[in-house]
């Protein structure tokens, strides 16, 4: 489903030609248009990568969304995919390049010097696929635990069963590595100073399953090194073990707070490869369910922000309202959190129109509360005193570090996949960019609140539209929810992007001929980039600012580790 806006579409396609021309000047296997605002190209030689990246950066494609290697065992190559984005003009480039599989030759220039957002993504590609990035400033393992040291779990020839036979030894290896680190981490510090290394997490009251190694001098922070991977479930691998429908349970576990939109992204990629178009009813339901899930996430995000400053009232109030939204999800799917409500071909269940009564209750509850919350919490003077001047991100930094979602919009960058690249029924909706100017922690908090209000508006619009169409007989809520998607898919690959509660989720799906399950699914999740910013934002601040800035970046450890 593509809803072109005539005017803006023309402007985009005009500018897109520049990108196409630019990339054509290099030695490419192919250059082709892809979707409305993507160009897809494959380089013949990996040596061109740096100069291509430099030219792209000059052209304005300043963000690198992710680096996604795919391991083709039969062809003996690892294909590395780069996704370049321009958040301003919405032109994107999907660049591919082949690397040999042999560990010693599997190397390519790092793009970190040009695109700082590449730093962690390249580390991830290195840890999972063994792609060696030359001239990378800090090429260490990330996400995977110490028992995977020296092996690359996402390579197709990695034997998971064999690895899991030695569970006890593996755990011992993790414990030993941790003990060694704790013994050595303070060796280099000046014994006369008050410098120390704090473990902020993973069992800290405000951290969640993440560990920040905080190097601090008394209360002042010198540097922060996030250690992530405490909830690594290898979802990208689990997906390949299931069929196309079963995979949604892995996809939705990206993060429990907003699970619907990630399923929408995955389902869109599958539908693209299968060549299936879903019904209008299903696409409207995707909008409706997606926004309900977004609301339930934003309720928690707002609460967490205040929790991190020691005030639990807002979280409690929001939980109260959130329950009503979960009631609707429960009445629709039978589950409150992990709904599994969206699958390739549409939405999983038909709709009983009486379920909308539950939704109406939630909307009424929200409308009754929202002014109170705004008066007490959004305009809270003590909160402003604390959050107004910390964690400031400029628009330029948003581009540089590939940030998205509320974090990007709080700095005034107009990016929202729902508007840039409309999916489901978002093209037919009244939607506007909501932005703030300064990009401080307070602005990010206000963004969540404003977007919560926007989401509730969207729910109202979608609900009214569905009700009207059902009444007019244009939609059949019990039969229109699904179209058939073949169980076996042809060889192909697709990317899809959705605006998730925390920002852009990019799914890169690869299938083999007559595939029953995905060959490779890369999930690019926003928290990964946002966590990368912690060191940058916290340097020179005090210990009190860690939870505040951490909370304002709206990080979910689920999609951080995947």
């Amino acid at each position: 489903m593509l809803h072109l806006r005539v005017v803006s579409g023309k402007r985009w396609s005009f500018k897109m030609d520049y990108v196409k021309k630019l990339i054509s000047e290099f030695d490419c296997e192919y250059v082709e248009d892809y979707k409305k605002n993507w160009t897809k190209a494959k380089l013949n030689s990996k040596n061109d990568l740096l100069s291509v990246a430099e030219a792209l950066k000059k052209e304005g494609l300043r963000s690198l969304s992710t680096v996604s290697p795919t391991d083709f065992l039969d062809d003996n190559i690892i294909e590395v995919n780069y996704f370049f984005e321009d958040l301003d003009t919405k032109r994107n480039l999907w660049l591919k390049v082949n690397l040999p599989r042999e560990e010693k030759e599997c190397e390519i220039e790092s793009l970190t010097s040009l695109f700082p957002s590449a730093e962690w993504h390249e580390r991830e590609a290195y840890s999972m696929f063994g792609v060696n990035f030359l001239h990378h400033p800090d090429l260490r393992d990330i996400i995977k635990s110490e028992d995977f040291a020296g092996v690359y779990p996402f390579r197709k020839d990695f034997d998971w069963l064999e690895h899991e036979k030695n569970t006890v030894a593996n755990v011992q290896q993790i414990v030993d590595a941790f003990k060694k680190e704790q013994e050595e981490n303070e060796v280099d510090l000046d014994t006369d100073s008050s410098e120390t290394i704090l473990n902020w997490g993973p069992t800290h009251p405000a951290s969640g399953p993440i560990r920040l190694r905080v190097h601090c001098d008394g209360e002042e922070i010198i540097s922060v090194d996030p250690d992530i991977g405490y909830v690594w479930r290898a979802l990208e691998h689990l997906v390949t073990q299931k069929d196309f429908i079963g995979a949604i349970v892995s996809v939705e576990r990206l993060c429990f707070m907003d699970n619907v939109n990630s399923m929408t992204g995955y389902a869109m990629a599958v539908e693209e490869i299968a060549g299936v178009e879903i019904t209008p009813f299903a696409s409207w339901m995707r909008v409706l369910l997606g926004e309900v899930a977004r609301c339930s996430s934003h309720f928690m995000g707002l609460g967490m922000f205040f929790n991190n400053m020691g005030l639990h009232t807002l979280a409690m109030w929001n939980m109260d309202t959130r329950e009503f939204f979960l009631d609707f999800l429960e009445s629709y799917s039978g589950a409150r959190i992990a709904t599994a409500a969206i699958e390739p071909g549409g939405v999983r269940y038909g709709l009983d129109m009486s379920m909308f009564d539950e939704l109406q209750k939630a909307l009424d509850k929200f409308d009754g509360n929202v002014d109170e919350i705004e008066a007490i919490f959004v305009n809270n003077p003590t909160m402003k005193l604390r959050a107004n001047d910390v964690g400031i991100l400029s628009a330029d930094e948003v581009h540089k570090f590939g940030l998205s979602g509320i974090v990007a919009r709080a700095s005034g960058v107009k990016t929202d996949i729902r508007i840039d690249e409309p999916y489901a029924a978002y093209g037919e909706l009244d939607l506007e960019y909501i932005t703030q100017k300064r990009g401080s922690s307070k602005d990010r908090f206000e963004m969540i609140f404003l977007e919560l209000k926007q989401s509730v508006e969207i729910i109202k619009q979608a609900k009214a539209h569905i009700e009207k169409a059902v009444e007019a007989g244009e939609m059949n809520p019990t039969k229109d929810h699904m179209v058939k998607v073949p169980k076996k898919l042809p060889k192909g690959e697709a990317i899809s992007r959705v605006e998730w509660a925390r920002g852009e989720v990019l799914m890169h799906l690869v299938t083999e001929e007559k595939a029953k399950s995905p060959y490779r699914l890369k999930m690019r999740a926003p928290s990964f980039n946002h966590t990368m910013m912690l060191d940058y934002l916290l340097k020179g601040q005090t210990l009190s600012d860690i939870p505040l800035i951490f909370g304002s970046l709206y990080i979910c450890q689920g999609d951080l580790d995947r």
Binding site: P205, N308, T542
Partner: protein, 318 residues
Amino acid sequence: MSELLFQSFIFPGLFYVLLWTVGLYWFFRKFMAALHKRVGPSFNGKAGSYQTLFDLSKLLTKESITPDGVNPYLFSIMPLLAVIFAMLPSAFIPWMDSFVVVDSNYGVLALVVLIGIEPFLLFLTGFGSNNKYSFLGGIRILTQAISMETSFLLAALSPALLFSTMNITAIVEQSSWFSFLVLLPGFIIYFIALLGLLEQPPFNIPDAEQEIVYGFYTEYSGTNYFLLQLAMFAEFMAVFSGAVALFLGAYKGVFFDSYLFFFIKMLAIAVVMMTLRAATPRITLAQMLSFSWRYMVPIALVNIAWVLFAKSLWFMGA
């Protein structure tokens, strides 16, 4: 002898403090729950009133863990000392008409000093815990105590200056509606400093859960943790009763004088404190320091000047 035993173990001693702790703990929970739109404890006893008793007995019977590498004496004696020192001020408080355990001419001074020792004891618990977070919490509580106690002392002095006596019983006897109005600015300063001393929001910096885990509490469990909690509630009582005796006329009531009014006044302070707790996020250490030294202390000094001025105008004859 029997009177001394009664005073130290029943009223206003140990039993009274325990009763106050259990009751106030339950009240805090119920009151916060209402502000949070929750229910709070509701299963054990009427409206969950036994819940705190069960919790306390659970804490008392749980294993009290002394971590490796700490000085066990410092680690275990400090909570006990903290409780004792927190309970001592109540000996100087006139709880009822002509009922005070120690009728000292230096009552105000004793009150301020005993309340002031408490943060130092808590610092030592953090110091003795051999844990980075505990130590940070200890440093924070010391920093906060030093800055908040200055204005606390200056505020507590204002009734003593007004009535030219440090005897708390004498202060209560001379107090009136009019003196309450004169001392109102002093009371407000006392209340804000009290929030700082008791580590209540927005000054709950020393045990800021989200920043430094539980501060000096981090390594404590079981009985020792119970003692620290008891010390905190005893400290609540000491500081609240100090406020009521110095500024609000202690047991003096509307139609008759009774302990009841003393209790209601203490509860009113607790309610205001809780409401602030439910509506104010925590500020940072630097903000607390600048608030204390830039605003609180100068204003407390101006208040002293105001009290002396008011005294020369209206209270010289008395």
